[in-house]
């Protein structure tokens, strides 16, 4: 009886080892395949940039049929995590990499290298039925911290304000927190009101703003559709109210615009370098403009 049990246990262990062995050989198999296929790359990260990255990949593959570029979203944090664990070739991010992320990457033997590939304005949006046309950054901050909770305090109708935001893994979320809610003040520890709805996608925010006259949201300029109303913003009460456009972003008049980055492990080489050079070429930058983002000045 005892002998039989030992036999069974041994068989268990054997099977476990076989399974583990299989999975580990698989892993080394794919990494070898990656080295051989030098014209394929994995691109992951920012949801703000996912359409842009898809267009780049599509257009590039149209001209170079041998290239294989796979693009996934998930948020800037997701992309950078993937770069840290070395599972992607290019990470897209709508915020700069944080110091602690660089540290983690270095611990994993990954050295993130930054490249600015486009610029993006954050548009503050409301439902077209909402009569409010313009706000100061301070007012937007007050809205998102619930110091103001009704549209009538801002010259609108008597309606409660429903706050919409992207999830915390979004680069846009972090950027908005730092430059609008805290007004760029590093010492400030103010955070979003707990009543802020955290929606998992940019489309979710557009959909809710389109449907709901109470809502206020923010999103990258590339995502804005004509069915929502963009608010003109001013840095402080006296200054000029500016709508986000390519001109106002390029001449730095629109107050909340940021750089969009891609990160690679080490200086880009081989196919990754060819691809990034193409993105920065006039052809790649034309796509940036087509999608409502702002090209980087050469």
């Amino acid at each position: 009886m005892n002998k039989r049990f030992i036999l069974q246990a041994g068989l268990f262990l054997l099977l476990t080892f076989v399974v583990m062995g299989c999975s580990s050989t698989n892993q080394s198999g794919t990494s070898q395949a990656d080295e051989i296929a030098s014209n394929s790359l994995q691109n992951k990260g920012s949801d703000t940039m996912v359409n842009l990255a898809l267009y780049w990949a599509e257009r590039y593959q149209g001209a170079h049929p041998e290239a294989r570029i796979s693009v996934t979203g998930g948020g800037s944090g997701t992309g950078i995590s993937a770069l840290i664990s070395n599972t992607v070739d290019i990470a897209n991010a709508s915020r700069a990499i944080k110091d602690e992320e660089i540290e983690q990457a270095n611990q994993n033997g990954v050295e993130p290298v930054e490249q600015i590939v486009a610029r993006d304005a954050i548009a503050v949006i409301v439902n077209p039925q909402n009569p409010v046309q313009r706000l100061t950054l301070q007012q937007v901050s007050d809205i998102y911290t619930r110091r103001v909770s009704n549209w009538k305090e801002l010259g609108g109708e008597d309606r409660p304000i429903v706050l919409l935001s992207r999830e915390t893994n979004s680069g846009t979320h972090v950027y908005f927190l730092e430059s609008v809610i805290r007004l760029g003040n590093d010492e400030d520890k103010t955070i979003f009101s707990a009543e802020t709805l955290l929606l998992p996608s940019s489309e979710g925010i557009i959909a809710e703003v389109r449907e709901n006259p109470n809502a206020i949201g923010y999103d990258g300029l590339g995502y804005i559709t004509p069915e929502v109303k963009v608010i003109a913003l001013a840095v402080e009460p006296g200054s000029e109210y500016i709508m986000p456009t390519i001109e106002t972003v390029n001449n730095n008049r629109y107050p909340i615009a940021r750089d969009l980055y891609i990160y690679t492990n080490g200086q880009p080489e081989g196919f990754v370098k060819t691809y990034i050079d193409w993105i920065l070429s006039s052809e790649g930058q034309l796509i940036v403009e087509e999608l409502g983002f702002v090209p980087v000045q050469p």
């Binding site: 268990f12 992320e101 915390t168 959909a207 449907e211």
Partner: protein, 298 residues
């Protein structure tokens, strides 16, 4: 020849045995993983912070209380939706419906069980949430109620098919005896059949509730994900954030080994305990049922 047969038989017996044990093995492995990754949260985050009322992990606010209560509110709401609808559907199918209606209804209810939760979530965003906002004049349609109704839809198939089995198992002599006493059909169902099938129906309800606690995609899409502390009955009409949606939307971005990562696993442990309790209650009820029927038969 005979020896060869014996070895192949041995292999088959062992592999069947292995598959039998494997589910236990996997559950134990998952449990070990959960505990080993989740308990460090108690070291990283002080206990009082962990059960505080603010969840904003990127600024190290790790209060999981609003998430636990959020899950409970949605589950409670889903139970209120699913139990009456599910049990009454089961009664109709088992007791009242003519044969042809039964043959159409049963597969249809089972089809409902096969609906992917993403599809239900889409329905929720596009149809249910605007409808609820307009009907109840709510600030936003992305509320716990929206989640509850959709989760109810997910729980209904489980409740219907198990309750219907329980009703079918009530001996025909009960109904005949009751009808022979001059009681109406309705009084027979209410006073005899339902009480006789009570434990089976309770099991059905608990299993349905178990499904709703763990459901992720639908709640993430329609409940707004705002980590608000539910304060009163009103909470059903306000946005909330559940444990499952939190894990799903944040697990992708966290750095492995960080406090945030451990807290997410800790939430997973809490969730596991919840479903465990529900399952224990469900199996206790069904054990009672077998004892009862044994008593009746003897």
């Amino acid at each position: 020849m005979a020896k060869k047969l014996k070895t192949s038989e041995l292999v088959i017996t062992r592999s069947i045995q292995f598959s039998g044990f494997s589910s236990i093995l996997f559950v134990l492995m998952i449990l070990y993983f959960l505990i080993s990754e989740g308990t460090p949260a108690l070291l990283d985050v002080p206990f009082s912070d962990l059960f505080s009322q603010r969840w904003y992990p990127i600024e190290s606010y790790y209060g999981i209380l609003p998430l636990i209560l959020g899950s409970l509110v949605v589950t409670l709401g889903a139970t209120l939706v699913a139990v009456p609808l599910g049990v009454l559907t089961a009664v109709y199918i088992a007791e009242i419906a003519p044969l042809w209606a039964r043959e159409i209804l049963k597969p249809l209810v089972e089809l409902l069980a096969g609906l992917p939760s993403v599809v239900l979530g889409f329905l929720g965003i596009l149809v249910l949430s605007p409808f609820l906002r307009d009907t109840f004049n709510l600030p936003t349609g992305l509320t716990a109620l929206t989640g509850s109704i959709l989760l109810g839809m997910i729980a209904i198939p489980t409740i219907v098919s198990i309750s219907e089995d329980a009703l079918k198992n009530v001996p025909e002599t009960y109904r005949h005896g009751s009808l022979a006493l001059g009681v109406t059909r309705w009084q027979t169902i209410w006073g005899v059949t339902l009480p006789a099938a009570r434990s089976g129906i309770l099991t059905a309800i608990m299993l349905g509730v178990g499904r709703t606690i763990g459901e992720t995609m639908t709640v993430m899409m329609v409940t707004g994900n705002a980590p608000v502390m539910p304060a009163s009955f009103n909470a059903l009409f306000l946005p909330i954030r559940t444990m499952t949606a939190t894990i799903a939307s944040e697990m992708g971005e966290v750095a492995a080994g960080s406090p945030h990562y451990h807290v997410l696993f800790f939430i997973g442990m809490v969730l596991f305990i919840f479903t465990l309790i529900v399952n224990i209650i469900a199996s206790n009820i069904s054990f009672k049922q077998t004892k009862r029927s044994e008593r009746i038969l003897s």
